[in-house]
């Protein structure tokens, strides 16, 4: 593992370590354990967090209140009941005087009428510029692979296979539209291109994964290809975005946060 990958892995692990020691990071558990095996610094941090937990848990969870606590609570309940009779803990009911209820209903009706009138005619919705359909994406990827690396993939790319092809006039948005392939599939496709040295195509697929809400790893993929193609500044830009996203999440926040 090179130093960049190690650095990124450290950042990931340190972000997840707190949940990991609580047994609440099952999905990332294997990755974290693998990293801890080879990273003394992160292993030390994990150990320190466990010590911290042990120190806190040494304090008693339960504690005897001062003598007479129960009677003071009951006195307080009695006083509260006296103030707000009839007694709690009755089921809460809405009791309005008839005149108040009538006034409330009138206000609600008036508000509803005002909202309806003030809306005016329905707005005209401009046509939406749809992104490429899944079918277009599906056709595009294998074609490019076939063109660029005909010895590799004569059939549709496995990562995109199985996604239903919509009818020609089928809408691509709305609740019935087929789902776009998950970002991971674009990453897999990009990896295939990258392994074959088709860096431009790999970059397109990784960028598609990134733009479709893929994890930070998709951005790292993009950065790696930039690095390979000599676009160091672009690579750094991508990595800075990863780094700042993480820093923003973990920055020191003093007492102003709650």
């Amino acid at each position: 593992m090179n130093s960049l990958h190690h650095w990124l892995d450290c950042r990931f692990v340190r972000g997840a370590l707190s949940a990991y020691i609580d047994g609440e990071a099952a999905a990332a558990g294997a990755r974290i354990e693998a990293h801890l095996t080879g990273c003394a610094a992160c292993r030390g941090l994990a150990h320190a967090l466990r010590l911290q937990a042990r120190a806190i848990e040494a304090f008693p969870a339960e504690e005897d209140p001062p003598a007479g606590f129960v009677s003071r609570v009951m006195d307080r309940i009695g006083a509260a009941e006296a103030e707000t009779a009839p007694a709690a803990p009755a089921v809460r009911t809405l009791r309005l005087a008839p005149a108040a209820a009538l006034a409330a209903v009138t206000v609600v009706i008036a508000l509803a009428f005002w909202v309806i009138v003030s809306r005016g005619p329905a707005p005209v919705i401009p046509p939406i510029q749809h992104p490429p359909t899944v079918a277009q994406e599906q056709e595009r990827a294998p074609k490019r692979i076939a063109q660029n690396t005909p010895h590799l993939v004569p059939a549709p790319a496995p990562a995109l296979a199985g996604v239903g092809k919509p009818a020609p006039n089928q809408p691509v948005s709305g609740p019935t539209a087929p789902k776009a392939p998950p970002a991971q599939e674009y990453r897999d496709l990009g990896r295939s291109y990258e392994d074959e040295g088709q860096l431009d195509d790999a970059l397109k697929e990784y960028a598609a994964a990134r733009d479709r809400g893929g994890s930070e790893l998709a951005r790292v993929d993009v950065a790696r290809v930039y690095e390979k193609t000599g676009r160091t500044a672009d690579a750094l830009d991508e990595l800075m975005q990863v780094a700042f996203a993480e820093v923003d999440d973990q920055r020191w926040e003093p007492l102003s946060v709650d």
Binding site: L17, Q52, A53, F59, M74, I77
Partner: protein, 194 residues
């Protein structure tokens, strides 16, 4: 100490019986509920507020609120969990309200843990108490619920009324703050690093 399995179980039959009696108008039955859970409620308030007088006041208020809301207790969760939830939220409100006031720490009043080990180090205990006391209210609540009430992340999420991801973030940041304020872990951590 209550484990998670106990927390996940539905309300104790005795607790449900007390609730039924209270709702039927038998107010004194509530005293039994207070007796059963006073240590847990006061313990949470004491950890959250770091002041015994304020903790007692908060614990009393928590029981008063619980009594008023008893009709909403559906028995799907443990009574103790429900009371701890009320207490924690109340303490968060109190901590926010007194944020600008000087703190009075409880460290000299807490019961001592068992002898032996580095936990008995007075300086260390003082540091931990002070570091926890200075955490922002929600962070402190997450730490108390996690480490002293042994709640899962989803239980903390429900108790504090915040998303699960926020629980993770609160705990991570709280631990980061604690780590930076406590003295560096000594020999044991060094051994792990080396």
């Amino acid at each position: 100490m209550m484990n998670r399995a106990e927390m996940d179980r539905p309300a104790d039959i005795a607790d449900l019986d007390i609730v039924r009696r209270c709702l039927a108008g038998e107010r004194d039955a509530f005293a039994e509920l207070v007796r059963r859970h006073q240590r847990a409620v006061f313990g949470v308030a004491a950890r959250m507020l770091d002041n015994r007088d304020e903790a007692e006041d908060a614990a009393q208020e928590a029981f008063v609120r619980a009594y008023s809301a008893l009709a909403t207790f559906r028995g799907e969760s443990d009574m103790r969990t429900w009371l701890v939830r009320i207490t924690t939220r109340l303490c968060i409100d109190l901590l926010r309200a007194r944020r600008r006031r000087p703190e009075v720490f409880l460290d000299d009043q807490t019961s001592e843990p068992a002898d032996g080990g580095w936990e008995s180090d007075v300086t260390e205990r003082h540091s931990i108490v002070r570091a926890i006391a200075e955490l922002p209210p929600h962070y402190k609540a997450a730490i108390v619920l996690r480490h002293l009430q042994h709640m899962s992340y989803s239980e903390i999420s429900a108790s504090l009324g915040i998303p699960l991801a926020t629980v993770k973030t609160h705990l991570r940041r709280a631990r980061r703050i604690l780590q930076s304020r406590l003295r560096p872990p000594s020999a044991e951590a060094d051994e792990a690093v080396s």
